[in-house]
Amino acid sequence: MSSDSRFVPLVLKTDTEPNMNRNFISSACKFLSLVFVFAFLNLTSNAQEISKEPAAISAGETLFNANCKACHRVKSKLVGPALQNVYDRAPSIDWIKSFVKNSSGVIASGDDYANKLYNEFNKTQMTAFSSFKDADIMNILAYIKAETEKVAVTQVPNGPVPPTGGGDGGVSKTYLDVILAGMLLILVLLLIILGFLVSALKRFLDQKELSEEEKEVVHSPITLGTVTSSSGFIFIVVFLAGALGFKAVINGLYSIGIQQGYAPKQPIAFSHKIHAGQLEIDCKYCHVGVMKGKSATIPSVNICMNCHNQIKEGQQTGTGEIAKITAAWENKKPIEWVRIHNLPDLAYFNHSQHVNVAGVECQTCHGPIETMDVVRQHSLLTMGWCIDCHRKTDVNTKGNAYYDKLVELHKEKSKTPMKVEDEGGLECAKCHY
């Protein structure tokens, strides 16, 4: 029988251990499992005529995935009950057929079993699938039966998700290392050559007739003391130290009032890498204000709960961090996220103007946000940074009647495309008022 060959190896797989001689036990297991399978088939074959044909099962799987999966799983309860053994549990196969085609009708007819189910599942009515033919329902049942009878199959381990990004940095780093090593080698070679030159010169000078003083100079020993007290050495050290110090002072002065790189710890360890990167949830799904107003808006707890009413375990932090969202939701207490990007009050910025009208991508200013586990301020947010972009960027005039006249006027005077600065993007009062 085809079904036997499907069952036995699976049972064997779970019961045998490769390094132990357990022939007797395994053959006993084989025998017992055969007995079990036969008994099971005998029991179920009386009740119905559900097909075991692979064609019926695969047809049923397609139908199940297209129509049933939203509310049902075979082995677990979702919106509706788990469907395993439904063919044994329900009053009859005909009952299943009529319930699937018209559940409200069966409930209204006063059917006991249907009403019990209806009440058990919070009076949620199952959608009527009136377009299903009897054969379709039988195929779905064939699929459910095949799934029910599958012994917990060993999970096929998929390979880990290939790491995204970060690859291109590695190449240039090894390249730099090679260059550094090469330069070091050249320096060492130069030192050796210089050493040879010095000894050659000494030998040459010794052959000549020199005064005592000159001999002393030629043969003066080179020690640490003579090197460090030489004026050339002191000049080099002072110059290097002065230059480095000057650079550090200038860099330090420039960093005042600039918060680039600020990456504070948030009350919940939310990862944009998972949500925006791996799951590809659109930025605007959570940051709903970005197309409409000044602030991009940080999502309120109900938006988190749209998914996290069900997803309770994260890949990086387990259940602890997600439990904080549930707690905030249940206690009706807002989550106080830490603001990262903060323009001073003297400058006005509006998200909708940039994202909705100009069509600027989030990443243009916020950097590779979809790869960040902890959000950091990517851009400088200085005035020079704003102006730079306003000088370089073409205005997104397509399909916007507001710009038609402006583009016409601009074309009369200039051949280059209209930039933001051409329509007043550098006017002081556009941002400072």
């Binding site: 381990p157 550090a248 600039i258 659109d282 799904y285 940080i298 749209n306 207490k333």
Partner: protein
Amino acid sequence: MRIVSTLFVAFSAAVVLTSCGAGGDNQGTEYAPNMYHSVAYEPYSQITDEDAGRWLTSIDYPDGHAEFYNSNKFNPYRMNMRESAPHTVARNKHGWLPYRLGKDSLAFAAANVKSPLDSTAAIIADGKVLYETYCDHCHGPKGKGDGKVAAGGIKVEVNGEQKERSIYAGVANLTSDALKGVSEGHIFHVITMGKGLMWSHGSQISPEDRWKIAKYVKTLQK
């Protein structure tokens, strides 16, 4: 010796100044702190500590708070935002009243609530963009319920173990036979109120945008 002392001063200045830069939890030194701590109510920059910025406070505020404090002590959590006053009705720019059918009125809504929009190509194109923003990641690009959040199936490594990524079970296939025939009113009601395992998306998507999405979903179901 003068050189040494000059160098010492320069280096200590450099060390002091490098602590001005931002990074990690350190926000960096602010040039004009009053400008970064808004006195006016600003989103996500509420300061509830009444003594914040005392060191540069030059004005005697009536209730004695310091410069940076910008919260409303009469509101819950000292929030600045309030819910609209009771018994008032907000209308949008088209003059539409809020949608007030209850969650359990799906059948009524499906039969009676009609879309105020015309099926023009522009509106359906808008609907497509909105669908890709708000629906795509669960319901999938073609509405088959196979978006990345719903389908999952990708294994990730957690502490050296292969684990199935958390996924959202029970996402409806919008093109299934049962849902193919639903009205735009039905789709609008479900987006607004949620259905089955889907929660309400009324707070995220404006009524006009919900009608646009409904129009686009109908084209997916053809």
